[in-house]
Amino acid sequence: MSIGRRLPNGLKTPDTPSADDAQRRVDQIRAFRAELGALKAAGASPLQPEQEAAVAAYHDRLLAHLAAQYDVDATERAGQLSRGMRLLSFFGAVTLTAAIYSLVAHYFGRLDVPMQAALLTAFPLMALIGVELAARRERTLYIASLFAIAAYGSFWLALWELTQRLDIPLSALFLWTGVLFGFALAIPYGFRIILAASLFTLAAAIAATMFEAAGTEWPLVFNRLELLLIAACSLLLLIMPLARADRAFAPVVRLTSFGIGLACLLALSLDGSHSLAPVQPWTAESVYQSLMLVVCVALLVISVRRRWSESWKLTAVMLTLFLLTRYVEWFWDALPTYVFFLILAVFAFVWLLALGRIRGRLAMVGQ
């Protein structure tokens, strides 16, 4: 695998390996060394000492290069520490945003409107400066992502508070500024959480704009779900352009699009009154229940074949939730309680076997 340098402005080409690619390579090398050690212990190593030394020297150079370029986790312990740091980064971001919000709630009444507007503008701008300075100093972007989430959160805080202070109704059109902010922050730096939030906002903004154009309130987009479902599906059009910026964005787009879509289908299958269609609620429920089953099975097949691990995990969870809700709704009153739970246990075993087969199929495809 060729290791290319990051471009100065942070944007990557399709050929530039990502940090995830580098970490996967490091994990491969560690696994190889562990297996080689086990083979030598069993007296079954196929390599001569000079061959082993040459391979070890090559791997040492490669690991040093990857560590210098991508700050990868060379050991399992380092990997655990990195996971902890990611969690801590997210926690820090949420608490920083909450602190900004509490500051506003506590003191803003003492300021006049121009000062309020200036401070609300300053919060996201200062956080953006923090993102840039942190990104220049650390390759892992833990601190940078903390500031990025704070910037994103304080942008929405600014929008909400300003509309409240200025008594301007929050129109769907203002959501588009948030979409622009989110994408402009996520793409150059590679922030996947911000990208996922921006994709969700994009789907909501598309549906909300259509609601407002139809003369009704846009928050109802989360009550009548078809437009949000269609907008979620349209997010898949962004996979190719976003993957050109960073290959790691493609799973994010799939996860967000499928997540919103399946959540809408699940809600519609549970309660047909969430449908815009001019049919009886129970008719809408029946249609969406059938659709949910077909879509989940199709998605499972496609994501296994294409090796989209994030997609098949999401689909498996949503399908399980859907089947569980159907089972409860159809059989809770009809069956004795012990039979109800016994059948549920059998279903869990069957589902485990099915997922095991899918996992085995994934392993075969990987080979």
């Binding site: 709630a105 003492r110 953006l128 840039e132 910037a151 008594d167 301007i168 500024t177 948030g178 902010f181």
Partner: protein, 242 residues
């Protein structure tokens, strides 16, 4: 630093747009003016730790009683607002159709302390249990009563140039089934848009030392309200009455 440019511009775009809307709304001659009291504009309280500033909540008479609602939101007016009333209230699917209808955003004219409010007072006086007929409602309820609605705000202001507050609202259909003295379909105001007005910073001190609310309740302040170019109401003056 180029990476920060677009998100920073997006932030500035948002703030500048809101500032322009705010400034433009308050520029020029207001589209109408009205003076309301604490009954119509009670202070809104966000809790002990809410220091975001005083705001008035715009209160109006709900007119939720179906037959009363049909007096001002007639079938013709509801159709003009965009509601498709194709199903008769007595039809079996009427409950579902009325319940599923999406609310519509429209302009409403709220009449202040005039004929419509007197009618409501008289009806309440007839139905009030023993005690002081109507007194409780007369002193504690908003005297803003919805009397007209239209998709055209300018036409509504032209029809009601004085003694009214014209404001945007969300209007919803409701249905009363035969078991509850129906069948009847009617409309009502879900909420006003906006339903709050901020107290200007330079006027907030006037509300800092208000006397305690008394019983029977009498308003402690009155507020001059203007309707801006974008149809967003704003406070121009606050006077303490007692």
């Amino acid at each position: 630093m180029k990476r920060m440019l677009v998100p920073a511009l997006a932030t500035l775009l948002m703030v500048v747009t809101l500032s322009i809307v705010h400034g433009w709304n308050r520029s020029g001659v207001p589209r109408l003016r009205i003076t309301l009291t604490e009954r119509e504009l009670p202070l809104s309280w966000g809790g002990l730790d809410d220091g975001r500033g005083a705001r008035f909540r715009i209160e109006q008479q709900g007119r939720f009683e179906p037959l009363d609602a049909r007096n001002w939101l007639t079938e013709e007016r509801l159709r003009a607002l965009g509601f498709a009333l194709d199903v008769m209230p007595g039809a079996p699917e009427a409950a579902i159709e009325y319940g599923r209808a999406l609310p519509k955003s429209a302009w409403v004219a709220l009449e202040y302390d005039a004929t419509a409010w007197r009618d409501i007072e008289r009806r309440r006086a007839l139905t009030e249990p023993s005690g002081r007929p109507g007194a409780l409602y007369e002193l504690s309820s908003s005297r803003l009563v919805p009397v007209d609605a239209s998709l055209d705000g300018d036409a509504l202001i032209a029809r009601h140039p004085a003694g009214h507050l014209v404001i945007r609202a969300s209007i919803q259909l409701a249905y009363l089934d035969p078991r509850n003295n129906g069948p009847v379909g009617y409309g009502y105001i879900r909420h006003l848009i906006p339903d709050h007005m901020s107290v200007p910073h330079h006027l907030k001190d006037r509300l800092a030392n208000l006397p305690e609310r008394n019983e029977p309740f009498t308003p402690r302040y009155e507020v001059d309200v203007a309707l801006g170019r974008f149809g967003i109401p704003y406070v121009t003056d606050v006077r303490v009455l007692r």
